[in-house]
């Protein structure tokens, strides 16, 4: 009987308290029918107080993962622990997890205050304390005095804040955010992004944030997990994800990138079209591959002799085929012998502006060009 009390504390807790995995997903799997894997063998550890972003296109399994953590979906296989407590098969209402829904899911028949107080009521918090905590929560989301309103009378952004207050007032062990910004307009989204991050850091609450927007993932999160077809394509810091994508899918999905077909010449160089460029092939020695370069990592200079360019940089002669003015940047499409490179130049820093048809030289550092095996991550 006492065996149920046995709890395996992770060893890491003693050795490295800062990186202790607070939320642990181990081999989480969701299978529908005989063989459709919505989520396939997911392993993620989130340290205490950190914000994990689950990023991916729709249908990649990120929301399924979130709902499994919340307990709204049964897991087919695997184990979820919070702070060492196995919650894999706990009913959702006993998990003590705050969840902010994409459509906010505020109770339409209750006032804002009643909405926020609901979770406290379920926990048997007495009325006086509940009232104070509700007001405190509403102040936190900058809606003091809005308690008597009905959700219907509030704007989308305000409803969003109420949903956040409602999820946080119960002081949950874990906060889950399901695409919380997708129903807001662009300007409000920027504000809410900062606000949510600020509150999360102030409360030091471990959070999982689901989004299909890479800007949200990169700017808000401590850790980003990129998901693709039910699998975790890459887990790392925003910088890892952006600078060192694990595969072509991540490179292509996170930020914009030029993907060019290439041929591996050796461990340290590839051939694109007729030219050979030095770069790290990451262990590939031969065969066809793909090379990826971010548009803004390519610098443009007026056409000059190739020999003047330092051997440390890659360079290609090209011709401007299209100029697109976007405001903060100008985008040039450049034809380099059969392949088109898209490049971006900040309008403020641009020393020179180019015309369509103009010849120029594209330069980039070898480490800015990533090489992926053909078909990786797709």
């Amino acid at each position: 009987m006492q065996t149920q009390e046995l709890r395996q504390e992770p060893l890491a807790a003693e050795t490295n308290p800062g990186d202790q995995a607070f939320l642990k997903l181990k081999g989480i799997t969701k299978r529908y029918g005989a063989d459709y894997m919505a989520v396939d063998d997911l392993d993620i550890d989130v340290p205490k107080g950190k914000l994990l972003g689950l990023l991916g296109p729709s249908g990649c399994g990120k929301t399924t993962t979130l709902r499994m953590i919340a307990g709204l979906l049964d897991i087919t296989k695997g184990k979820i622990t919070i702070d060492g407590d196995d919650i894999s098969h706990k009913p959702p209402h006993k998990r003590d997890i705050g969840l902010v829904f994409q459509n906010y899911a505020l109770f339409p028949h209750m006032t804002v205050a009643q909405n926020v107080a609901f979770g406290l009521e379920m926990r048997g918090v007495n009325r006086v304390e509940a009232r104070d905590r509700v007001e405190e929560a509403l102040e936190m989301v900058r809606l003091p005095g809005y308690g008597e309103r009905k959700p219907k009378e509030m704007s989308g952004g305000q409803q969003q804040r109420v949903a956040l207050a409602r999820a946080l007032v119960i002081r949950p062990r874990l906060l889950l955010l399901d695409e919380p910004l997708s129903n807001l307009d662009a300007k409000l989204r920027d504000d809410m992004r900062i606000e949510i991050r600020e509150i999360q850091q102030r409360l030091q609450i471990t959070t999982v944030f689901v989004t299909h927007d890479q800007v949200e993932a990169l700017t808000m999160c401590d850790l980003v997990g990129v998901m693709h077809k039910g699998k975790l394509a890459q887990l790392g810091t925003p910088e890892d994800i952006y600078e060192r994508p694990a595969d072509l899918f991540v490179a292509d999905f996170v930020g914009r990138t030029n993907v060019l077909g290439c041929e591996i010449e050796a461990l340290d160089r590839v051939r694109i079209g007729a030219s050979v460029y030095p770069c790290d092939t990451r262990g590939l020695t031969s065969g066809k591959a793909k090379a990826a370069i971010r548009p803004h990592r390519i610098s443009l200079t007026p056409s000059r002799d190739r020999s003047l360019v330092s051997m440390a940089t890659n360079a290609a002669h090209g011709k401007v085929t299209r100029v697109t003015y976007i405001g903060d940047v100008v985008q040039y499409d450049i034809d380099i012998g059969g392949n088109t490179l898209t490049t971006e130049v900040h309008t403020a820093s641009a020393g020179h502006s180019f015309q369509s048809g103009e010849k120029l030289l594209c330069e980039w550092k070898p480490q800015d060009m990533q090489v992926f095996a053909q078909g990786s991550g797709s």
Binding site: M1, T3, Q4, D74, T76, K77, G78, K79, D86, S88, H89
Partner: protein, 296 residues
């Protein structure tokens, strides 16, 4: 010890949840029982009895025969019934459409403030028993009724006009009973109608009549089709109004079913006529779905 063995494999075991769905069955069972007793069973029984040898006095034999249908199709009175019912169905539908269309168009165009109130007025007759409304028509159209009273006291006529106990009375009563149904169907189908289309037509040189014929009418056609189906079906099967306003002198399929079943107690005959009515229904539905397909 048992606790250890039982708690360990849970995590990896695929979920074996699908038990016998007691809850689901408990939720659906009462409704299913009602439906079976008062719908499925009666309809099946009706079909069966229509093939049973006819004996008057509510006696049901076990002899199956086609005789009920044969005698229906060989009796000239049956054809009169079908003809009367179809005439009533088509005629009432057409007149109801002409009365309800202006109402629907008016409701579509009037300011929202008035629209809600007029909408309630339009559908409110549905809440009044058709017996009461038919009685109202008997008062208005009867020999000593309102219409005859006014006409006679003003000296226009000497003897009362026959407005009830004949087909005319049934027509008037049926149209009034069915207007709300037709109006509701039309209003539902008016969603696609917007002023801009008419304005566009006007800018291209269409006059009032052409705009109505070429723009408004085609846009509202799905609602018209639905309303016509509903009214046709309801007038074919209506019984209260023809019985009361027809005064026993208007013979229709529906009144015949009632007479055969309740007065003559010739149940197999009544059942056979019911099946004929259902077949007419099926045909009307088939025509409707073909018409509707042309709009999409």
């Amino acid at each position: 010890m048992a606790a250890i063995t039982s708690s360990v494999p849970l995590a990896d075991a695929p979920q074996t949840r699908r038990k016998f769905p007691f809850l689901l069955i408990a939720l659906l069972l009462p409704m299913a029982i009602i439906n079976f007793i008062a719908f499925v069973l009666p309809v099946v029984r009706l079909g069966m009895i229509s093939f049973i040898e006819s004996r008057s006095g509510g006696v049901l034999t076990n002899n199956y025969t086609l005789e009920n249908y044969v005698s229906f199709f060989t009796d000239s009175f049956s054809f009169e019934l079908v003809a009367n019912s179809l005439t009533l169905g088509f005629g009432v539908t057409l007149i109801t459409l002409c009365c309800a269309y202006p109402i629907a168009l008016f409701l579509h165009r009037v300011s929202p403030k008035w629209r809600n109130m007029l909408f309630v007025i339009t559908v409110s007759p549905l809440l009044v028993s058709s017996v009461v409304r038919t009685y109202g028509w008997m008062v208005i159209l009867g020999d000593q009724g309102v219409v005859n009273g006014i006409l006679m006291s003003s000296g226009i006529i000497d003897s009362p006009l026959r407005l009830t106990n004949n087909t005319l009375g049934v027509f008037i009563g049926m149209v009034e009973v069915l207007i709300p149904y037709m109006a509701l169907s039309l209003i539902a189908g008016f969603g696609r109608l917007e002023n801009v289309y008419e304005e566009a037509a006007a800018s291209l040189g269409a006059n009032r009549w052409t705009r109505f014929r070429r723009v408004i009418l085609p846009l509202t056609a799905p609602g018209i089709a639905l309303g016509c189906l509903l009214c046709f079906v309801l007038s074919i099967s209506s019984f209260i109004t023809p019985k009361l306003l027809g005064g026993g002198r208007v013979f229709l399929l529906a009144t015949e079913i009632y007479d055969q079943a309740v007065i003559q107690l010739e149940w197999p005959t009544a059942a056979a006529i019911s099946v004929i009515v259902l077949i007419i229904f099926g045909l009307a539905l088939a025509v409707y779905s073909r018409v509707v397909k042309r709009f999409d």
